[in-house]
Amino acid sequence: MGKVCVITGASQGIGRAAAIRMSREPDVSALVLIARSAAGLEETAAAMERDGKEVELIPYDLTDLDGIPHLVRGIHDRFGSIDILLNIAGYADPQSLLDTTTENIVTTYTINVFAMLVLIREAARYIADRPAKILNVASTAGITSRPGWLAYASSKAAVVSMSATLADELAGSGIKVYSISPGRTATELRRKLAPEEDLTRIMQPSQVADVIAQLMSDAETTLDGQNIVVRMRSQTGG
């Protein structure tokens, strides 16, 4: 039986690149793509190499935490298992401390941390019978000081911490948990955060997706529980 791979944030950026990359993996038989934008999901699906794989698109706003248990149960009922969960959805609206609204802090943490945690909790209920892998996308912003990015950076630090703890807590259940912290990546989010930057000169989402695919392969058995920094060698400010 092939693997079922669930990807959040699949309508753009690293999530889209991961969906395209994972669609080339021979042992993946089904991909479930989740994002707010139905149009974005359609664009991702159009770029994938399906090769007989099932692809389900689920437009869903992850700020609706209460709906996540139903969402995950539906996926499990439809596909029978969840073997790979890629938590890539992210939100950033960097503001200095005194300019940051409570709403901004709550939205950032809800998408970057709370939704991820609830998704993992619900998925873990269903993936207890076979080995599985979960990968959470953090950021280099979560492991260094980022004045002006308080909510985003600290939420990504939470992702790093959460991943390390879950890697140990779920290890005995046969579930491996990874976190990666990409540096500057040429995504739509990056365009918003640094509009003056030449995106062709920094890391591309497909490069991050290659790392994700390597980590999710059966051959990888030792890097769970560690925060893996993904940077281009030539990069200095990522």
């Binding site: 873990a124 209920r125 269903y126 207890a128 019978d129 703890t165 140990d168 807590e169 290890a171 005995g172 259940s173 529980g225």
Partner: protein, 228 residues
């Protein structure tokens, strides 16, 4: 051959010094009893698992089963006033089974391989045992007699028995008001049949006193590859 399993979860936490039963203590972030049930879950040969609980913790244990995604193979029943009584009730609940495995919630470091070894053993009645590495004497205030530790065995769970024969042995023990601390002793005395001893593991410790959880954490860290 239909195989059932009894998980004894009747602790009330007195000796471990906590205000809640020790089967709910966390090891590696998970309740001890969940460690045990997860091992049973991956063994398809086990048809049903019955957990015996005190009345005060039935709901909590059921909630744990639901939260951790255990299916209908797993159920909770009300335990008895003693360990022996709980086993007796578990045996009655598993009346449709030919063979029964008995384990306890506070031995979380049992392995799937140990359960499989027990199931695969040709003898119908089997226990794990390990040598006693220290000297044991008989006595209370004064030494009353010597014991040869080479003739003794430290009894471990899990154990496996012919369900009907163990149930009959329990009936006989109840008639005599005889109480035992585990089932190999009871079976040996009242069924009159051989109980095979398989070599157990020093790692399969029972969480009884507070320092046991410290030891268990160290063993578990090694089990999941976080030992350094």
């Amino acid at each position: 051959m239909k195989i059932g399993m009894i998980v004894l979860a009747g602790g009330i936490g007195k000796r471990i010094g906590r205000p809640f039963p020790k089967q709910f203590l966390l090891l590696g972030g998970k309740p001890l009893i969940v460690h045990v049930l997860e091992k049973a879950r991956v063994i398809a040969d086990i048809d049903r698992v019955v957990i015996t609980c005190p009345a005060a913790h039935l709901d909590e244990t059921r909630r744990l089963l639901a939260n951790h995604g255990f299916d209908a193979r797993f159920s909770c029943i009300l335990g008895g006033g003693s360990r022996q009584e709980s086993t007796y009730l578990g045996l009655a609940d598993l009346a449709d089974c030919d063979s029964v495995i008995i384990h306890e919630a506070v031995r979380p470091l049992v392995t799937v391989e140990e359960f499989r070894e027990l199931i695969a053993a040709e003898d119908p009645n089997v226990m794990f045992g390990i040598p006693i590495p220290f000297t044991v004497l008989k006595g209370h205030d004064y030494v009353e007699d010597l014991l040869d530790r080479d003739e003794l065995v430290n009894v471990q769970l899990p154990q496996k028995f012919d369900r009907a024969k163990l149930a009959a042995a329990h009936d006989a023990a109840r008639r005599d008001d005889a109480f035992f601390t585990e089932d190999a002793s009871l079976f040996y005395r009242y069924a009159g049949e051989r109980v095979r001893i398989l070599p157990g593991s020093e790692r399969n410790i029972k969480i009884t006193v507070p320092t046991d959880i410290v030891t268990a954490e160290a063993i578990y860290a090694d089990v999941i590859g976080r030992g350094g």
